[in-house]
Amino acid sequence: MRLTQGCFSFLPDLTDDQIYKQVQYCLANGWAVNIEFTDDPHPRNTYWEMWGLPMFDLSDAAGVMMELAECRRVYGDRYIRISGFDSSHGWESVRISFLVNRPAQEPYFALERQEVAGRVVRYATRLCPSREATP
């Protein structure tokens, strides 16, 4: 199932040129750019692992693209996202986050229903391995 998380996720995957421009936009705004990766794309998993340190005092996105290429080389089979953190007063939060890499076989999510006391129903999203992997 195609994962849709963060910006641009309903569009076709961004090309490197497009990623470069987005990163340049982040840097021009003075945001710290982070590269993060994970093999657990569950929507509740907000703790992705960081690739290197946040990059802030760069003037050109080529430096980030270099790190991204390195990260893809090592973790090409995982989800990788780039986020831009705005540290200015009043914001102090992530302003943009978008996927830049996804595994060839994406997992899917199943809805689990649980009946508890008083006929209350609880729902949970469960991460399942890719269907294509087990035909």
């Binding site: 050109d60 996105a61 080529a62 270099m66 790190e67």
Partner: protein
């Protein structure tokens, strides 16, 4: 089938959109800001003939590349890594800073910032420290110019476990793979740079422009001193100018002469003496002209004139005045 044909004649397909028949070179050069940039370079830097001619060549290449691209011919971005060698004070650092502006103006580099580093900024202190440190600097320099001053310190031949080698390898890799993103300029004194390149042949071959900075002639040094004074809002009186010509001739024969840097120090000391001369007589009315003019006595008071012939037991240092 159509696609296949197009792929075979890709250069034709690309150029076929609007193939201009001719190009107005002057208009193209002005549009790219080349004439303006070169004129500035000519006026603001004295001497340095080989440097200027190389910059002009590079600028011309860019212009032709641009036109070729528009004409649909094959074009490839030129390699711009440079090495500046020359004696102390011949303007290597000044030109490197200027070079970033030029390259940016000509559209060779995207941002035009200069990151000036030495060994300490690239080489780490323990295992695993060097690579991130070097990469950090490289990332900062992307889109601009990385200026490595006294680059030969990166290589320590007496210690083969030195981390400098690791930094060199990372540098070489990025210099090769990301030529469009970054221009690396190495600078250092002539002889030691030669040794450095001899022990790192990879560096030598990856640098397209080896530029030798010649020593300044006496006439050029005089022009430089006048330019420096002008920048600071002073000027020589006729007698002072003559005295300074003698000063330059004498100073050049003395040890530890470092071209424009010595001249800059001399100019600063002359300003000190001028101020001292003015303050020593508190009872007179000062005119604007007095404040601006360097008198011959300011120059002649220098110890360069009173000194015994060079190399006879004087303390030879930059501090002597």
């Amino acid at each position: 089938m159509l696609d296949l044909q197009c792929a075979n004649n890709s250069s034709l397909c690309g150029g076929a959109a609007s193939p201009p028949s001719g190009f107005d070179l002057r208009k193209e050069a002005e549009a790219a800001g080349i004439t303006e940039t070169l004129r500035e370079l000519e006026h603001e830097l004295i001497g340095l003939k080989p440097v200027k001619s190389r910059v002009r060549q590079i600028a011309s290449l860019l212009l032709i590349e641009r036109i070729r691209q528009r004409a649909g011919l094959v074009s490839s971005p030129p390699t711009l890594h440079m090495s500046f060698t020359g004696n102390p004070g011949t303007g290597k650092t000044t030109v490197a800073l200027r070079m970033a502006k030029i390259l940016h103006g000509l559209g060779f580099v995207r941002r035009g910032q200069v990151i000036s580093v030495t060994r300490d900024d690239l080489v780490g202190q323990y295992i695993g420290h060097t690579a991130p440190k070097t990469k950090e600097i490289l990332k900062k320099a992307m889109g601009g110019v990385l200026f490595i001053d006294e680059a030969y310190y990166l290589h320590r031949p007496d210690n083969e476990r030195d981390y400098g080698q690791e930094a060199i390898e990372i540098l070489l890799q990025v210099m090769e793979n990301q030529r469009e993103d970054l221009v690396v300029i190495l600078a250092g004194y002539g002889e030691r740079m030669t040794n450095f390149f001899a022990s790192n042949p990879g560096f030598r071959s990856r640098i397209a422009h080896h530029i030798e900075f010649p020593d300044y002639s006496e006439a050029e040094l005089l022009l430089i001193s006048e330019l420096m004074l002008k920048e600071r809002g002073y000027s020589f009186s006729a007698a002072a100018r003559e005295a300074f010509v003698n000063y330059i001739a004498l100073r050049m024969t003395q040890p530890f002469f470092s071209n424009a840097r010595s001249i800059r120090n001399a100019v600063d000391r002359i300003r000190l003496r001028q101020a001292d001369r003015l303050v020593s007589d508190l009872d007179r009315m000062l005119e604007i002209k007095d404040l601006e003019t360097i008198d011959s006595s300011d120059v002649l008071a220098s110890r360069v004139f009173s000194a015994s012939p060079p190399g006879e037991g004087r303390e030879p240092s930059e501090r002597t005045s």
